[in-house]
Symmetry: C2
C-alpha cells in the first residue's frame, strides 16, 4: 500500500505547490500579507482572531479565510466583527483535514484584495496535515494551547519547523493546570531553535500587544 501511495502524495503536493505560488504572487501584487494559522482543535484560533481583529482596526485592514471540516460557525463568529470573511468547508472535498491552495485560490476570488493589508488563513484544526500544504501565505503561525501539554512540539515537530512564529495560547490556564512554560519553551527550541515565541491569553488580553505589534510590523 505504501509503495503505491507515496508517488500519489508527491503529485498532490506538487500540484498544490504550483497553485500556492500563484496565490503568493496574487497576494503580493495586491500588497496583502497572508498568515496561515495552524493548530490542533480548540487551541483558540478563532478566539484569537476575535480578540485580534478589533485591535487591528484603524491600523491595518484585515480579512479572514476560515477552513473547517463542517459547519460555518467560525466564519459566522468572524463575520459578526464586520470583517471580510470567506468560509471554506472541506466536507465537500471528502472532509479533507487541511486547507489546500486550490480552495484558497477560490476563496481569494470572493474577497476584494485591494481593500486589505493582511489576510488570515485559519486552517482546519489539525496539528499534522496542514504543515505539509503551502497555501501561498507569507508565513505560517502555529498555535498551541497550554492545555495541550508541554510535549506537543516534539510530538508534532513539523507544524513548528515550518512556522515563522509560535503562539502559546490560554496562558491564563498556566496556574490552574500547573503548566510548565519553561519545559514547553525548551521543547520548542529542540525542534526549531530560532523560532520566535509569543505567549498570550485572548480571554484576559495578556500578551496581546506583542502579537498585534508582530502583525502590524510585518
Amino acid at each position: 500500500m505504501k509503495k503505491r501511495r507515496i508517488p500519489v502524495v508527491a503529485r498532490i503536493l506538487e500540484a498544490n505547490e504550483r497553485v500556492a505560488e500563484e496565490n503568493r504572487r496574487r497576494l503580493a501584487a495586491a500588497g496583502v500579507r497572508a498568515f496561515n494559522l495552524i493548530s490542533g482543535p480548540g487551541a483558540g484560533k478563532t478566539t484569537l482572531l476575535e480578540a485580534t481583529l478589533p485591535r487591528l482596526k484603524g491600523r491595518v485592514r484585515a480579512g479572514v479565510v476560515v477552513g473547517d471540516v463542517d459547519t460555518t460557525r467560525d466564519g459566522e463568529r468572524i463575520a459578526a466583527l464586520g470583517v471580510p470573511v470567506v468560509q471554506i468547508t472541506t466536507r465537500a472535498m471528502g472532509g479533507t483535514c487541511h486547507l489546500e491552495a486550490a480552495a484558497v485560490a477560490r476563496a481569494l476570488d470572493r474577497i476584494d484584495l485591494s481593500s486589505l493589508d493582511l489576510l488570515f488563513l485559519e486552517n482546519v484544526g489539525n496539528l499534522v496535515c496542514p504543515a505539509a500544504f503551502d497555501l501561498g501565505e507569507k508565513s505560517k503561525v502555529t498555535l498551541l494551547s497550554v492545555a495541550e501539554g508541554e510535549d506537543k512540539p516534539i510530538k508534532y515537530p513539523q507544524a513548528f519547523r515550518v512556522a515563522s512564529l509560535a503562539v502559546i495560547t490560554k496562558i491564563d490556564l498556566v496556574g490552574p493546570l500547573g503548566f510548565d512554560l519553561g519545559a514547553l519553551r525548551e521543547n520548542l527550541r529542540k525542534v526549531h531553535p530560532r523560532l520566535p515565541v509569543l505567549e498570550l491569553s485572548a480571554r484576559t488580553g495578556e500578551g496581546m500587544e506583542n502579537w498585534i505589534e508582530w502583525l502590524v510590523r510585518g
Copy 2:
C-alpha cells in the same frame, strides 16, 4: 486534482478495511477486546491510560499500542507502568496523521495476545483523519478535553459519529474555564444522539470508576 484523488483514497480505505478485518478476527480469536482511542493533540489519551492501567490491574489484563508521528515518549510513559506496549511512529510512513490497520497488524505480531483481555490502540492526536481508518478494533472511543471548547463535536462530527463512547476529559478545568458542559452534551447529541458520554478527570480521579466499569463490563 480532486478527480484524480478520490479513487486513490477509496483504494487506500478498501485495502485498509481488509487488513482491519484480519486484525479483528485475530483479536477475537485471542479473546482480546481492542479499543481505538481517538482525539485531538493533548486531549489526554496517554494521561487517561496512565490513570486507567493501574486501576485495571487484577481485573483485566491490558496492553497498549501507541501511535505517534514522532518520538516514543508516550510508549515510554506506558511502559513505565509495567504493561505490554508497542510504539508505532508514523514518521517512517511519511508522517502519517493516523494509525492504519497494516501498522497495527505488525504491532500485534510483537504482543503476546494470549496474555491479554484488552488492548488499547492509542491513535495519533488528530480529530479528523483517524475517524476514517478502521484498525480492527471492537469499538472507537473518542476523547475531547473541555479545554477544546463546546463546539468541537459539530465541527469534527465524524470522530463522534463513528464512536461507541465519548469521553470528556479534564473536567477539573470546567470551573477555571467557565466551560458549559450542557452545551457540549447538546452538541454531542446533535451529531450522535445515542452516544454514551462519560465525563472524567484523570488528574483528580473524578469519574474514573464509570470509565473502568465500562471497560471491565465490555
